[in-house]
């Protein structure tokens, strides 16, 4: 936990190099920090501020604007449960009710064992599988009470470890090259 580790500091430097201005890397760096610790630690916020040349207040202010970035610890698995219109019309609130009951926590809370956090999400753009949810940003749906319970079981037993990485990990594919074009195509206008 805490500060960005050396491997991630190197990644951070590579990310910053992709942008004309350092601050553009702020959000990618927040994701990076979150992939390390599951959430954005205060130390990581300081690191990011220094890396991109803004104040920690600006990093904190920017990060908290975005739903995916957490400044408080979360469970190993974060359930983002959509209740927006298409899911609502297909029983999302009933599913959410069930999930809270099954896990014994309310929306915004984490189970005592630190395994699960429930969040109510806005539309996740998978309305053809309504009601749908994301677990650490991996899609599941349509779900009903039984399939939700089965999903919890699979996560607890580790059967989904290949599909659902730790919270905060987005793309498991890293960019393979830096910027190479090295010309500006300003011609011809």
């Amino acid at each position: 936990m805490a500060h960005l580790n050396s491997e991630n500091l190197e990644r951070a430097t590579r990310l910053i190099a992709l942008y004309p201005k350092d601050r553009s890397a702020l959000i990618p760096l927040c994701h990076l920090a979150q992939s390390q610790d599951g959430f954005l630690t205060e130390e990581a916020i300081q690191d990011i501020a220094e890396l991109v040349g803004v104040t920690p207040a600006e990093v904190y202010g920017t990060a908290t604007f975005y739903d995916m970035l957490h400044t408080e610890p979360v469970g190993k698995y974060v359930f983002a449960m959509c209740t927006n219109i298409a899911c609502l019309l297909n029983g999302a609130f009933e599913l959410l009710e069930h999930a809270q009951h099954r896990l014994g926590v309310h929306v915004g809370q984490t189970t005592k064992d630190g395994m699960f956090t429930i969040e109510e999400a806005e539309c996740l753009a998978a309305c053809d599988t309504a009601p749908c949810i994301q677990v650490n940003h991996r899609f599941f749906g349509p779900l009903a009470a039984e399939s939700f319970d089965a999903l919890v079981g699979d996560l607890e037993s580790g059967r989904l470890d290949d599909v659902v990485p730790p919270h905060g990990v987005l793309s498991r594919v890293e960019r393979s090259v830096g910027l190479v074009a090295d010309t500006e195509n300003e011609v011809a206008r």
Binding site: Q46, V54, T55, P56, A57, E58, Y60, G61, T64, F65
Partner: protein
């Protein structure tokens, strides 16, 4: 002068717009809200502030504006006027939009006006009273948050009251340049927040409180102190430092309770630093003097004016009789008003006949240099092609000048070359040259292109870069367009080195202008009034005294006197029999504490004219209590030479007198007469006898033109003062209701004709002295051996001075006393960050905590400019006033 120039230079191109049916002329680029205000139409607003970039977020100022597709609702604070544009501010549609916004603002705004500091001067409250419906349609739950949280040492935030206008966050990033607060979260959960580990501890935080349109941001020093309708107020000038920010001093029940910044284009543009804003607390501090004190043998006892003045006259007359006038000296006066300073200058030079008078305490620059260099105004500096700052951290010394300069660099209206022995608050905006104290004169000569100067040991790349920046700036002949800021930012580098550097620049760039960075409130006024050896009122030397002055003052002292250090040296040798200290804590403020101690021990009679108890009053024979800031009227002169009124708002404590009366009474007691009975008479004498101040009297200073003050000397010209639209939200609260509704308050237009004689800024004699300084060889400190560190001694805003230490809100903010050392040097010494080590000079050794600072040059160490810390020694104990620099050894313990 400046104002007139501006109005004649303005291009006459205008556009015609129609506002509520009336055709109005406006300059292209003006905002609709500004043009409307000038035309007498006040458009309600919250987020708009005339000194910040518009953002158009509160939507209160929506009006109907014509466009290619007909009328639409547009934010008048954001849209620029355009030819033929039609604006309707009062149509049913515009009114509904504005009232709708008002209602939205109240959705989550608590109804705690009765317990809110802002109640009674709150634009949201006023708008609601004026235009809101009688009752609310909102019956749902309001947003709830814990009530005020401290987001910084001097700012509390009530998030429930916040209307998200972004004034505070914009101030922090746009004006102060330190985004220690920002919005966090979004939607109706949006809040202003600092980072948890980094409080909002900006020197400028108080401005966010002043510009907050609701009671969301409050300042603990004022919280629950008064209600707006109980406030009385007077416009005045801040005496926290020498920038001379314009303020409104507000009092309640006879006590000062709040200072607000007033928008003066040439100076503070509405901003204040927190030292200036909260320093008034010192006025009511428990260490205030209220009675004369007299030491008849053992210790100081309470006395009467009669007895105390008798003691003064006895000792003065005895000294005159036995030892002559040169046995009497005056130190201090930089915190007096011009009129007070003039009275003491006359007392010393005309009545007593001594020239050993110095408003500076050995921590300034030679008076002839300060008075003799061509001066720049702040507005000239921020528009200069290049500004060279000589070893000065302006944020710590003259905070609002820092604000102005920083912003102008960010907005690319000027560029800064920062020549300094440490990284300063301007460094990141500047071309920087780092050097070891002692080399300033060499550095400036090199960057100015002097070829026969030894560059050994200096950073060649930085010098070259600065040189390029200077030569590429497109300066005019003689360096026109260059402004140099110089003061004593580093007390470890002697005044003679700074003077050599400044005078050299003057020689190389005769048309460059200088902005003094001497910091004590009215030091420039005091020097102008003649509180310096060899000087007479109005920036003239003894030799240049006018017949009129001789008629009024009589014969002048026979010999040139000593400056403060010279006086203290004479005193240490037993040659000074009576020493007047004028609001100067000699034992704490003189940066050669050993000398000050030796001197005071030898002076038989020390007469302290002071506002507060301090180490010097404790050692005095007679202590005379005088009125301080807010307790007496008069004028003060800032770094530019701008004369502005300081105003009495409250009664001084006990039997304190205005200082000029003390001077007049002393004169009378020793059988003479200063020749004036009132402040106004002094002011008339200054206007008549001080060449640079011709025509500038209290009457002018208090005229309609007073908000801007007048920069002396003033020629026989008409001054056209056109005040800008002010921010009614932040400007003096109690008329808030009136300002928000009709009739509105407009920028004032005033005209004043001055009878000045277009005199020189400074006399020919002074100019010759400066030229001589510039022609002399560069003053350079020899390099030390590699085991020696050179000490840079720098002030911080919250220092050990009386003002800060007597203000209960500011005193705790004093920076920790520690020596800053490069981490590699610490490693070499085997001392860890935070541990103690020993600093040794030829005089003594002191223990001090260390802080690792990788920004430093390895041979430079930095100590705060502090005299004493709870019985231990401090930086001023390490200074020998005879040396050019302070070389020290560091030892582990």
């Amino acid at each position: 002068m400046t104002e007139l120039d501006m109005s004649t230079q303005e291009t006459p191109v205008t556009v015609s717009v129609t506002i509520d049916g009336n055709v109005v002329q406006a300059r292209p680029g003006e905002l609709i809200i500004e043009v409307a205000e000038r035309a007498g139409v006040f458009i309600p607003r919250f987020c708009y502030h005339p000194r910040m970039e518009p953002v158009g977020v509160c939507r209160m100022c929506l009006v109907e504006v014509s466009g290619p597709r007909g009328f639409s609702l547009q934010p008048s604070c954001y849209l620029h006027v355009a030819e033929g544009q039609e604006v309707i501010t009062n149509s049913p549609k515009a009114r509904k939009a504005q009232e709708g916004v008002l209602e939205f603002l109240l959705v989550n705004h608590p109804l705690d006006c009765p317990v809110c500091d802002k109640g009674g001067e709150c634009p949201l409250q006023d708008q609601t009273m004026a235009h809101g419906p009688g009752e609310t349609r909102f019956i749902e739950q309001k947003r709830h948050w814990p009530k005020p949280i401290d987001i910084g040492p001097l700012v509390s935030l009530d998030r429930e009251r916040c209307i998200q206008c972004a004034r505070c966050t914009r101030f922090a990033s746009e004006v102060a340049g330190e985004a220690l607060i920002d919005f966090a979260f979004r939607s109706s959960e949006i809040e202003v927040a600092p980072f948890a580990l980094e409080p909002f501890s900006s020197y400028f935080a108080g401005n966010t409180v002043q510009i907050c349109p609701v009671g969301a941001l409050t300042a603990p020093p004022y919280r629950f102190k008064s209600r707006p309708w109980d406030l009385e107020q007077a416009e005045s000038t801040c005496e926290g430092c020498a920038v001379g920010c314009r303020t409104v001093a507000q009092s309640s029940a006879g006590a000062l309770v709040r200072y607000l910044g007033v928008d003066v284009d040439g100076v503070n543009q509405s901003w204040l630093c927190d030292k200036g804003r909260y320093g008034f607390e010192a006025v009511h501090a428990s260490n205030r003097l209220s009675l004369p004190l007299l030491n008849r043998g053992e210790e100081l006892e309470e006395s009467t004016w009669h007895d105390a003045l008798l003691a003064v006259s006895d000792s003065v007359q005895e000294a005159l009789r036995e030892y002559g006038p040169s046995s009497i000296a005056f130190i201090g006066g930089a915190r007096l008003t011009n009129e007070d300073a003039f009275a003491f200058a006359k007392l010393a030079k005309a009545v007593i006949g001594t020239d050993s008078v110095d408003a500076q305490l050995g921590d300034g620059l030679p008076a002839e240099l300060v008075l003799g260099l061509p001066r720049a105004t702040i507005n000239e500096a921020v528009k200069a092609k290049v500004v060279i700052v000589l070893n000065q951290d302006l944020r710590e010394e003259l905070p609002v000048l820092f604000l102005r300069l920083r912003r102008s660099v960010v907005e690319k209206s000027t560029a800064v070359i920062d020549c300094s022995s440490v990284t300063t608050s301007l460094s990141k905006y500047a071309t920087s040259v780092r050097y070891v104290p002692g080399d300033l004169a060499r550095v400036v000569a090199l960057i100015s292109g002097e070829s026969n100067v030894d560059a050994l040991g200096l950073d060649q790349d930085q010098i070259e870069l600065a040189k390029m920046r200077l030569s590429a700036a497109g300066l005019g002949d003689g360096g026109e367009g260059l402004v140099i800021v110089c003061g004593r930012g580093d007390l470890g580098e002697s005044a003679s080195i700074v003077a050599s550097a400044a005078a050299t620049l003057h020689r190389l760039f005769p048309k460059a202008r200088f902005l003094s960075a001497l910091r004590r409130a009215n030091v420039h006024g005091a020097l102008d009034m003649g509180l310096a050896p060899g000087m007479l009122p109005g920036r003239v030397t003894f030799e240049e005294r006018s017949d009129a002055l001789v008629r009024a003052w009589g014969p002048m002292p026979a010999e040139r006197g000593s400056d403060a250090i010279g006086t203290l040296e004479a005193a240490a040798q037993g040659k000074i029999k009576v020493l007047f200290t004028l609001g100067a804590d000699v034992l704490s403020d003189v940066p050669d504490r050993d000398l000050a101690k030796r001197a005071l021990a030898k002076v038989p009679t020390v007469i302290a004219i002071a506002t507060h108890h301090d180490s010097t009053t404790s050692a005095a024979t007679v202590v005379l209590p005088v009125a301080g800031e807010g307790e007496r009227s008069g004028t003060v002169t800032n770094i530019e030479g701008r004369v502005a009124p300081t105003t009495q708002k409250i009664v001084p404590p006990g039997v304190s007198w205005p200082a000029w009366m003390v001077a007049a009474e002393i004169a009378r007691k020793i059988g003479s007469d200063l020749g004036f009975e009132s402040l106004f008479e002094i002011s008339e004498e200054i206007a008549a006898l001080a060449p640079a101040y011709h025509g500038v009297n209290l009457g002018l200073a208090n005229s309609d033109a007073r908000r801007e003050g007048v920069v002396v000397p003033v020629g026989p010209v008409a001054i056209d003062i056109r005040s800008r639209p002010l921010d009614p939200i932040a400007t003096p609260g109690i008329s808030s209701v009136e300002e928000q509704g009709a009739p509105i308050r407009l920028g004032k237009t005033a005209r004043a004709t001055l009878a000045g004689d277009a005199g020189l800024e400074s006399s020919g004699g002074l100019q010759r002295l400066v030229r001589a300084l510039g022609a002399a060889p560069l003053v350079v400190a020899p390099r030390a051996d590699s085991y020696t560190y050179r000490l840079s001694i720098r002030r911080t805003l919250y220092d050990q001075g009386t003002l800060v230490q007597s203000s209960s809100s500011l005193a705790p903010l004093r920076a920790p006393f520690a020596l800053r050392v490069h981490p590699q040097e610490l490693a070499r010494l085997g001392v860890k960050d935070g541990e103690e080590l020993m600093i040794r000079t030829s005089r003594l050794a002191i223990r001090v905590n260390v802080i690792a600072d990788a920004d430093l040059a390895r041979q430079v160490v930095v100590l705060g400019a502090r005299a004493e810390e709870a019985g231990t020694f401090g930086a001023f104990d390490l200074i020998d006033a005879q040396e050019l620099v302070v070389d020290v050894r560091l030892e582990s313990i």
